[in-house]
Structure formats: C-alpha cells, structure tokens
C-alpha cells in the first residue's frame, strides 16, 4: 500500500527510497553538546512498531543539507547495534530491532559526532578578546523517516554566555518554543511532528544557529601520520605521530604581544583562544616518550607514566589500590598558538609488545592491536594515516579495522639492517574524532625462521668480511719478485 502510494506521488525529490511507515516515534529527546570543532549529539528514540513484523528501522543520520556525522553509533538498551548504512542521501542506517511486537516501545539511542559545524564569528579577534563561535544546522527538528509524537531538543553550550540564537516556528509547539537557562537552550517540546524525510507529509525543516562563547582553544589537526613499528627482538611497539596542528579559532587580528601574554599569564587569565599546552593520554604501559619538531627536541614537556596492576605489584612501594592509570604526556608547543597559527611536531613513545600482541596458538598467528590515533578532546583530524610496520619476514597479513577506512595499502618498508624489507600496511582516513581512537587489529604469520633471519644474515656478513680480510692479508701485492 505504501509503495503504491509512493509510486503514484511522483515528487521531485532526491530521496529515492521508500521507507515503509511501520514505526512511529513516541518520543525523541536530543541533546546537542556544542564544542569547538566537534559537536556531540545524543538522541533517544522511543519507537513503537505499528506492525507485528515491521522490518528494519530506518534511522536518519543527518538532514538533507546537513553535514554527515564523522562518527556515529547506535545502541539498543546499552548494547551497540550494527546497522546497515544505506547508499542514500541523506545518510540513513537500517537497524534490525530483532523480534518486536506491535505497540511495544523500544528505546534506541544514537550518538553522533559532527565535525566542523561551528565557525568562529567574528573571524578575527585581538589577542585578549573572547572568542565566539556560531553553530549552524539545517535541521531544527530531529530528522526522522517516521512521524513523532513528542520531541525535545536541548542545546548545551560550553559556557553560559550565548550571544544570540535563531527562532523556531510555532507550527508544532503548544506553549513555549525556546527556553534558555544558563548555557542550555531547550527547543520545543514539539508535538505530532510528521516525518521530516520521505515522501509523505514532510514537516518543513528550518535552519537554526547558536552564537556562543567558548573558553577552550579550537584545535584542529590537519594531518596526522602515525607509524607503528613492531620489533619482536626488542619486544617493543614504537608509536610515532607526526602532527600538523592548527588553531582553528578566530584568527589573530594584528600581532602577538608577548607583553600582554605574560601579563595575562601573571593574572592567570590567559585568553581562551591561546593554546599553551595540551595533554595526550597514553596507554598505561607506554614509556620513553619523545617530542620534537623539525628543528630539534622540544624541551617543554612532562610525562607521568601510567601503571597497571601488574606494574604496581612489581614495585610494591606504592600502597594505592592497583588499578589502571593512563600515562599522561603534557606537551607544550614552542610558542603559544594563537588563532590561525600552525605548529607541527612529532611525538612518539614505546609500548611493551606483550601488551598489544597476542599469539593465536591454534592458527599459529600473531594478533597485533594498534590504536588508530590518540584521542584529543574536541579535536578533529582532517587526514589521518596509520602505517603499521611488521617485522621482517611476517607473512599472510590481514587487517581488521574498527570502522571503515578510505584506503588500505600494502607495501614493503626497508629500514635498519633489513635484507628483504618489512611488510607495511598504510591505512588512510579523513575526518576523525576522539571517538575514532580505537584499535586496528593486524594478524600475521611470523615463524621462527623469520625471527632468526636478521641475526643470521648479519653474522654471516660479518663473518665473510673477516674471511675476506684473512684471505687478503695472505696475498702478496708487491710488484717485485722476491
């Protein structure tokens, strides 16, 4: 019946799919956390099937002209749910809700992270000015393929000072449209909202924007190149990041005054736009970190090593209860990074191989877990590259990624004392957020013969050099006959 209807109404829409109207949203509650570069959106859907076998639920990830989320996750009752991403616009995911009965209410929750949705306004400020961002969306209402009974949208700004926000049409509201309390805006509640997507009874979306202040520097990473090098002999995994950092907040108007900066530091009121340092969370067993840039070591960094129950037990002096503590690497750039300024640098550290490498004894394979990136709060990585370098002689390599990546390349990497070269895998992906800091798993076959390859090659080379020397010493080069 629905399909027939869709066929008959030939609407000039980009939407080519027909979503059978087998569900209704009894309530939707959305919370939007505004930040610097990222916006985190959590949405609770209360869903009621209208059928006994309603099929898949179509969950819209974005509105028609909206930015696609950089990261999203659907969960049902706290459990992560795998969805099938449809090849459609707007991006929609089809979710299997399992066996459902008619009129049984299901709570589905969707977490999304949007990147680059806030832009600085004004785009240029002076050194001591506060920084404001404006957040724009094309969807005031939560996008859905199904009608909604009640809907409420909360927008939380990081700071109470909100300069302005746009208005909401009163089409679906009863008493109040927007309530502001502190840094929180509540839109709605909206009642009896028709689907915003699809072919029937479309509720018209309206753009919405918030102009708010943020007290944290807006930091983006243009490029992140991580290389992870496995050494079985050294029982070590070295992780090294090359990072091109940019302050994406409002650009600095005029010039930087060290005097003003030192004065504001003295009064402990460093303006929000200035990045003077940040902390990277490292794995608990990470050790020997380093931090340098193109012209050498940067001496302004501190490292507090993490600990695990195992390491705590080893040195029993510590009386605290054994628990996992992450390592903290506090980095301070060479100069304070003001709006629009760049800073590129390299950071690296070592992890004992035992913590990240397991042996699958059944299949005789090694399983290696490499974190794709080190998550930084509210930071978007525009382009990331992960290069995993396996030891020489590793073969039969397979890669398992926690999320879809753009490209995977296999190559050979030659470095210290290699003869045949090492197997290297390069993964590339654009637009990553803190939530992408997950492990990539690489499995490979690494026999004992491969492990012995390097020492044997070097030993034989050195041995043959000695033999050559012995031989040459016994040759008489003199032209004269004796």
């Amino acid at each position: 019946m629905w399909s027939a209807l869709a066929l008959t109404t030939l609407l000039p829409l980009a939407i080519a799919i027909n979503v059978p109207q087998t569900y209704i949203n009894t309530a939707i509650a959305r919370t939007i956390e505004l930040g610097g570069l990222t916006t985190q959106i959590t949405t609770q859907y209360n869903i009621k099937p209208l059928d006994n076998s309603p099929g898949e639920y179509h969950l819209a990830l974005a509105g028609e002209n909206d930015v696609e989320p950089a990261w999203w996750e659907v969960s049902l009752g706290g459990k992560k749910l795998e969805g099938r991403l449809l090849d459609e616009s707007p991006p929609t995911v089809a979710v299997q809700l399992g066996k459902t009965k008619k009129d049984e209410v299901i709570t589905l929750s969707l977490t999304q992270v949007l990147a680059h949705t806030s832009t600085p306004l004004p785009a240029e400020i002076e050194q001591r000015d506060p920084q404001y961002l404006v957040w724009n969306t094309n969807s005031t209402y939560v996008d859905s393929w199904y009608p909604t009974d009640v809907e409420r949208v909360k927008i939380r700004a990081p700071h109470p000072s909100i300069l302005s926000y746009s208005s909401v049409p009163e089409t679906y509201t009863r008493d109040n449209t927007i309530t502001k309390s502190g840094g929180t805006l509540t839109l709605g509640p909206f009642h009896s909202l028709p689907p915003t997507l699809g072919t029937t009874k479309i509720a018209e979306q309206k753009a919405f924007s918030v102009h708010y202040e943020t007290k944290d520097p807006v930091i983006g990473i243009r490029n992140l190149q991580r290389s992870a090098e496995v050494s079985h002999w050294g029982a070590n995994l070295n992780i090294q990041d090359y990072i091109e950092l940019v302050n994406e907040g409002p650009k600095l108007k005029g010039h930087f005054s060290r005097l003003a900066h030192q004065q504001s530091k003295f009064h402990a009121s460093v303006p929000a736009q200035i990045l003077t340092g940040f902390t990277m969370k490292l794995p608990p067993t990470a050790h020997s970190p380093y931090y340098y840039d193109y012209i050498g070591n940067v001496s302004t960094s501190h490292f507090r090593q993490g600990s695990t129950p195992a390491t705590v037990q080893k040195n029993k002096k510590v009386r605290t209860s054994p628990r996992i503590v992450e390592g903290n690497l506090e980095l301070k750039p060479r100069y304070p990074i003001l709006g629009g300024w760049n800073y590129s640098f390299t950071v690296g550290y070592d992890i004992p191989l035992g913590d990240v490498l397991k042996t699958d004894s059944e299949k005789n394979r090694k399983v290696l877990a490499v974190p794709f990136l080190t998550g930084l709060k509210d930071v978007v990585v525009d382009n990331a590259e992960l290069k995993v370098i396996l030891p020489e002689g590793a073969s039969d390599v397979q890669v398992y990624t926690p999320f879809a990546v753009d490209t995977i390349e296999h190559s050979i990497h030659k470095t210290y004392l290699d003869t045949t070269g090492r197997y290297a895998i390069t993964l590339k992906k654009a637009q990553l957020t803190e939530n992408h800091a997950q492990n990539v798993y690489v499995t490979y076959h690494y026999p004992l013969s491969a492990q012995l390859q390097k020492p044997l090659t070097i030993a034989s080379l050195v041995g043959s050099l000695f033999l050559l020397g012995m031989g040459l010493r016994r040759v008489n080069y003199s032209i004269e006959k004796k």
């Binding site: 010039h255 193109y294 050498g296 940067v298 001496s299």
Partner: protein, 825 residues
C-alpha cells in the same frame, strides 16, 4: 705463558676501562716497559754476561720475543681503540646534556648544504644557486664553499644507506666531528711514531684526543670544516713524512690525496701548501737533498696541485696567488737541484760544479724576480686581506671591520694557551728541544711546524687549532722520554763498579767498554746521570723513580681532569640552546632562538624576507627557512653595511632601505631581560662601524657615545642612539614589563628610561618567551598615501589639523605629548 710476565703489563690493562685517565698512564707505563723489554731482549741471549746489568726491579726472564711482540701490538691496538673511544666520548657532552643538535652559526649552513647534497643529488649541489641568501642578490653556493665537509658527510650517509642503516643526515652531521676526532687520534699516533717511539705515539694520540684546543672545534654538533680538517692535516703530514722517509711515489700520492681532500674541506689548507715546501726548502739548505725528497715532493706537488684545482672555489688559485707560490718555487728549485746532481754525477770537474751552482742561484733569482714582476703586473694576485691580518694584527681593524668584528679573529690571550692545552704548553718546548737533539729529517718538520704555528696561534684565537696537534706531538715526545728514563730498570754502572766488575772477572776490556757503551746508548739522555751525579745510587733507586713517575702521573691525571672540565664547561654549549639552573638546581633550558625561528617557519609567508644582523643569517636560513639579506658568508661588505645602516639610523632613514629590499620582518636579539650578553645592542657598535665604512657622512660612530665617551642605553644615551632602529626595536615596550618599577637592562646594568618608544614603521610581530628574539613586521605603505608617522599618530588619537601636511606630521606627534610621546625629539 709466564704469569709473572703478565703482571707488569697486565695489571694496568685491567684497570684501563675504569676511567679515562688510566689508559694514558697505562700506555706510558706499558710501552716504556715493553719497548725496554724489546731493547733488553738481545742482551740475555746475545751477551754471556747477564750479571753486569743491574736492574732496579726484577724483570721476568724466559719470555720469548714473539710473545712480547704480540702482547705489545695487541696492547697498542687496545689502547689506541680506547683512546679513540675517549676522544669520541668526551665530545658528546652537548648531545647528552641537550640533544643531537647542530651548533652555533656556520654549522647550520653546512648542515643545510648537506641536506641539499643528500636530497637533491651531487650535481644539484655542485650547481646550487641559492636565491634566498643575500636577498635580492642570491649566492652561487656551489662555487663559493669548500665542499669537502658536505661531500664527506654525504658519502657516509650514502654508505650507511647502502648497508641499510637509514641514519638521518642530521645525526651524521652531528657525529661527524667526534668520529673524525677518533681518526685524528689514530693519525697522530702514526705521525708521532714516525718521529719517536710508539709509546710517544700513544701519548700523543691520547693528548690530541682530549686536548681542549682541538675539542673546541670538534664537539658533537659543531659541524664545521675544522671538524675533518685536523684529521686531514695530520693525515697529510704523516704521509708526507712517510713519503719523505721512504722516497715512495705511492706515499707522495697519498699525501697529495689527503692534501686534495683538505683543499676541498678547509681554507686552512694553505698551511699545508706552505708547510711542506718550507720543510723541503730547509732540508735543501741543510744540504740534505736526496732522491727520496725529490720523489716525494714532486709526486705530492703535481698530483696535489691538480687535485686541488678540481675544487670550484680554488680553481686556478694555486698558480695565480702569492700564497701558493712557495710550493711552486720549491718545486722548480728541486728540479734544478736534481738536474745539477745528475750532471755533477756525470761530469767531474770542480769548475763545472761551480758553474752549475752559479746557474742554480741565477735561475732562482731570475724566477723570483719574475714572480715579483708577475705579482705587480697583476698576473699573480697579491696576498689576500685575511692573510695580511696574520702579519699585522691591527690591519683588519682598520681595513676590514667585518673580519675584526668576529671574536675568533682576535689575537690570543695568554691564559687561553693554558686553558686550551694545560700542561702540554710546558712540555711543548721540551719536546721541540728533543727534536733539535736528534734532528733527523722528520724532526726538522716538527721544529718548523712548531715555530710557524706558535706564531699563528698567537695572532688569532682561531688558529689555536693549528698549534694543538704539534703541541700534543712535541709534548708527548718529551713526556715519553721522561717516563722512559725513569721506568727503565737498568741502572747505569759507575766507573768504580765497572772496575770492580773487571777486577772480579777476567773479562776483556773491550767487552766491558762495549757494555758501557751499550748502556750509555740505552740511557742516552743523561738526566739521571746528571741529576744523580756519579755514584749516587739513590737516584736510580725505586723511591726516586716512584717519586718522579708518580708526579708525572699526577700531571696526566690533572690534564685529563682539566680537559674534561674545560670541555664540559666551555666548549659544549650549542649556543642555539642555552641552559640555566633553576633555584632548586634543576636544569632550565632557554630555547628562545628555536622558538622564534620555528614561529617564522610555521606562521609567515614562505617568501617573506627576514632582515637581521649577519650572525643569524645561516640560522634563519637553516631553521626558519626564509630568505635573508645577509648571512655569515660575509662576501658582500656593502650589503652588510646596508643592513648596518638600516639598524643604526632612525626610522625615517631606515624605512626606505627596508622597503627597497622587500624586507617583511626584522629580527633582533635582545638579552636585556635575561642577561644574555651576546645580543645585538652589544654588537651594535660594529654595525655602526661597518656602516660608517660605506657611508661616512650618514653614520658616525661618535654620535652613539655620550659626551663623556660612554656607551649608554639609559637616560644618558644620545638622541642618535635612542632614535636608531636597533635601540627602538630592542627596548620597545620593555619598561612596561616592569610594571612601574625602573626597567633594568641586565646585560648593561643600566636603567632604561620609562618614556615609551613609538614605532611608526614597524609592528611588533613576535617576541620569544625570554624576550631574546624580537621580530618586527615592516608596515606596508599607507593605502591612502599618508606617511606612516602620520598614520600612527592618527591612530593614537591625536587630531591632525586639516592643513597639517605629512611633512610636519612628525612635529604633531612629537608635540602631541600623549602617552606615547617620542623621547627627546
């Protein structure tokens, strides 16, 4: 075989790895003992009278000569290896304290050139034209540098890549100097062994390995020409001695190759170019001409000159400049003498010989006259200015302020001899004395070398480097002679005893004489004899020996201690990174230079031109990667003077200069906040002097001094000083930092007036954390054609009358009397 045999040599060996001083002491001990053992060796077997030798302490007998020989060479090898290790290790202070970083100024250029060589290939490097240096002139780098250093580093880098060791070129550059210092120790050992005994060689190797005079130029990170030059110098000298002794053309060629490499690496090659001819000439004068000398010299000169001409920077200099004429002259002289020798051998007759001698003298005089004529007619360039400044120390200050402004070109102060060479400077004359005593051909070389370099080292601090090797060699010879004398266990017999011996034994007098002669030969320096007097056994007793040897060992210990201290405290600062101590004793690293350079690199336009005093040109090019007006390759005096003029004149005069040279940023070094004394205000007078050299009417040095002749930056400073761009840029907003308290300049110890400084044509763009580096952006012309002074006073809120033209805008701003009034207009 015999455990006893091991004990004298074995025990010191065991202790060698414990600390640095021990190997040296051990080497002295072992070698004098073992060499002595070798000397003694024929005696027990050859002569049947072992009773005659009186020994101060027992020596193991029944050890076969081969064992001794083998042990000896093994020990020598191990000791030499340890010395090389110590030479490398003592140069790593900077790397361990700071990091693997390129030091100072010139090394940054060498490093940058090496990167070009490695990344873009040899031909690109050879033909490299650098448009970013000496903007807007550019610099043809390929033909204006000594490529030896970079090529050496590049070859090492390529070799390491070949064996799959992809070491970063920076690390190759940083570690090049220590690595070559190890090789220098080795060549010095070979060189000294030719002069004296291997034990002296080992001592010399140990001395040069840690002598501060050489370390000052070769710590890890000081990637400069001198880093490999001393190795090449010693290599060339060693192979020259070898060639001269053996008369082998092969060794002559090796000398030439070392020489060619040296020419490619360092301008100081002129020293070899004159040293070897001088040696040959002196030998001729002493009547020691022989065919070996002829072969060695000719093969060296021909191959060496041709190979030196391959370097683009040198090209035809060897046949066209006065510095190289001595070598050519001696070459000609040798040919003549050889010719005469042949003729003399074939044609007997004294008169003919006389004729020939006359002919030789005539040719010599004629060719010298031709040389003079050619020099004056301009075919042969006269000595370069830098060369003159070697003879007349006041020359540079008058004629070439740029050269005089470099601190390392100043005459050497006496304490620095002791500072750089410690006890070696006292042993040095003794060693030269011993050379006089033996006076073989090779020892004459040492004498000449010592005389020449002693003069040069006195003239220029920088040339301390040249004297260091010969001081080490001579001191090692003296030292080892002393040690040998006091460790030699043989007690020379007094006449009474001899008589006694002859009385007791019906031995022939001839044999007794022989023994006596042998012993006299053995103790050929009569120190012991003279000191002890005849029959004074006490001098040869163990107590005396112990006293002297332990005093000498103490000297060695002190030497090592001194060298380590000097290296650690004086010569291991990268000067790019400064270190200070926090109140709690922890190290605080002051990294302002790199902070500012990296800021420029990351946050300015790629083609923005940075103007600074020439000292920082190479660093800006290397670290900030931006075009510079002038840099440490001070080839264009006018360009440097232009920068000096811009810095020393007022804004009105400086602004057109800045704009004409497309300057976007001006960088000054200011140490007043931190007390960093090497800042631009302290160098300012040199800028003024150099500018005055070109524009004596516009810049005058006396205008920068107060009436009482003081160089002041406080209230007393002259208006010219206060209005100069350098003064304004250094102290701009400085007093505000003190929040009302008097602003103290910690370098000059003066109070900076708290009247604000107004900059009309520049904007402060960046100041580093400790205010050491201050960067100003040059304002563009006003879009509506006003003068910048008028613009800033307009923006300062001062109303301009409509009639006020731009010319009297200056008056308006001066008279405005607002909070930013100009001081002392």
């Amino acid at each position: 075989m015999a455990p006893k045999a091991k004990s004298p040599s074995g025990t010191p060996l065991k202790t060698t790895p414990l600390s640095a001083p021990l190997p040296r002491k051990a080497s002295a001990d072992i070698l004098s003992k073992s060499s002595l053992a070798v000397d003694d060796e024929p005696l027990p077997s050859g002569s049947t009278t072992p009773k005659v030798r009186k020994l101060a302490y027992p020596l193991p007998t029944h050890i076969s000569p081969t064992t001794i020989n083998n042990t000896e060479s093994l020990l020598r090898f191990i000791i030499l290896a340890l010395i090389c290790g110590a030479a490398i290790g003592s140069r790593l202070f900077a790397v361990i304290r700071f990091e693997s970083v390129i030091h100072e100024f010139d090394p940054w250029f060498n490093y940058r050139a090496s990167k070009v060589l490695v990344n873009k290939g040899f031909y690109e490097f050879w033909n490299w034209f650098d448009p970013t240096a000496w903007y807007p002139l550019g610099r043809t780098v390929g033909t204006t540098l000594y490529p030896g250093l970079m090529v050496t580093a590049g070859l090492i880098w390529h070799f390491l890549r070949l064996i799959n060791m992809p070491v970063d070129i920076r690390n190759v550059c940083v570690m090049l100097a220590p690595g070559f210092a190890g090789l220098t120790a080795w060549t010095t050992y070979l060189f000294t062994t030719e002069m004296s005994t291997p034990s002296a060689g080992l001592l010399a190797a140990a001395f040069i390995g840690i002598a501060p005079g050489y370390i000052s130029r070769s710590v890890a990170g000081s990637y400069d020409n001198e880093a490999i030059a001393i190795f090449l110098l010693m290599g060339a000298f060693y192979s020259w001695i070898k060639a001269m002794k053996t008369g082998s053309a092969l060794w002559g060629m090796v000398t030439a190759l070392f020489y060619g490499w040296m020419v490619a690496a360092w301008g100081g090659y002129v020293f070899i170019t004159n040293m070897i001819p001088l040696h040959a000439f002196v030998l001729i004068l002493m009547g020691r001409f022989n065919n070996r000398l002829y072969t060695a010299y000719s093969s060296w000169y021909v191959i060496g000159t041709i190979s030196s001409m391959q370097v683009p920077f040198v090209e035809f200099l060897p046949i066209r400049t006065s510095e190289h004429m001595a070598a050519l002259g001696v070459f000609g002289l040798l040919q003549l003498i050889a010719f005469v020798e042949i003729v003399r051998r074939l044609v007997p007759g004294k008169q003919f010989q006389l004729l020939l001698r006359a002919f030789v003298v005539l040719v010599f005089v004629v060719s010298f006259a031709a040389l003079v004529v050619l020099t004056f007619s301009g075919w042969i360039a006269p000595f370069a200015g830098r060369f003159y400044s070697l003879w007349d120390t006041g020359y540079a200050k008058v004629h070439m302020p740029i050269i005089a402004s470099v601190s390392e070109h100043q005459p050497t102060a006496w304490p620095s001899f002791f500072f750089d060479l410690e006890m070696l400077i006292f042993f040095f004359p003794a060693g030269v004395f011993w050379c006089f005593k033996e006076l073989r051909d090779e020892q004459i070389f040492i004498i000449i070398y010592a005389t020449l370099s002693a003069y040069f080292a006195g003239v220029m601090v920088r040339l301390m480097l040249v004297i260091t090797p010969v001081v080490c060699v001579a001191a090692a010879i003296a030292f080892s002679k002393l040690l040998e004398a006091y460790i030699d266990p043989v007690i020379p017999e007094s006449e009474e005893e001899l008589e006694e011996a002859t009385a007791h034994q019906p031995m022939s007098k001839a044999k007794a004489k022989k023994i006596a002669a042998a012993q006299q030969n053995k103790s050929e320096f009569n120190f012991t004899g003279i000191l002890g007097g005849k029959g004074e056994k006490g001098v040869f007793g163990l107590d005396t020996r112990f006293a002297v040897v332990s005093v000498l060992s103490l000297f060695l210990f002190l030497f090592v201690y001194h060298c380590t201290w000097v290296t650690s405290s004086a010569y291991s600062s990268p000067s790019v990174v400064l270190a200070s101590r926090n109140p709690d004793g922890s190290q605080n690293i002051i990294d302002d230079f790199r902070e500012a350079y990296y800021w420029i690199r990351q946050n300015t336009e790629k083609d923005s031109v940075v103007m600074s005093w020439w000292d920082y040109g190479y660093q800006i090019a290397g670290m900030a990667d931006r075009p510079t007006l002038v840099d440490n390759n001070t080839w264009n005096n006018t360009h440097i003077a232009t920068v000096g003029k811009a810095m020393s004149s007022n804004e009105d005069a400086a602004y057109p200069i800045l704009r004409k040279h497309d300057v976007d940023y001006v960088l000054v070094i200011f140490g007043g906040l931190l007390g960093y004394s090497g800042d631009d205000i302290n160098k300012f007078l040199w800028m003024v002097r150099i500018a005055q050299g070109e524009w004596p009417d516009e810049v005058q040095e006396h205008n920068y001094f107060t009436q009482r002749g003081e160089y002041a930056v406080d209230e007393r400073a002259t208006p010219t000083m206060k209005n100069s761009l350098m003064y304004k840029m250094s102290y701009y907003r400085f007093h505000e930092l003190f929040g009302g308290h008097p602003a103290q300049d910690r370098v000059r110890g003066q109070q900076i007036p708290s009247t604000g400084i107004q900059l009309d044509t520049l904007d402060e763009a960046f100041t580093s954390e400790n205010w050491i580096v201050r960067i100003y952006k040059v304002k563009k012309e006003d879009p509506i054609g006003r003068e910048l002074k008028a613009v800033s006073s307009f923006e300062g809120g001062k109303k301009l009358k409509k009639s006020a033209s731009s010319s009297n805008a200056a008056l308006a701003s001066g008279a405005g009397g607002g909070r930013k009034s100009r001081p002392n207009m």
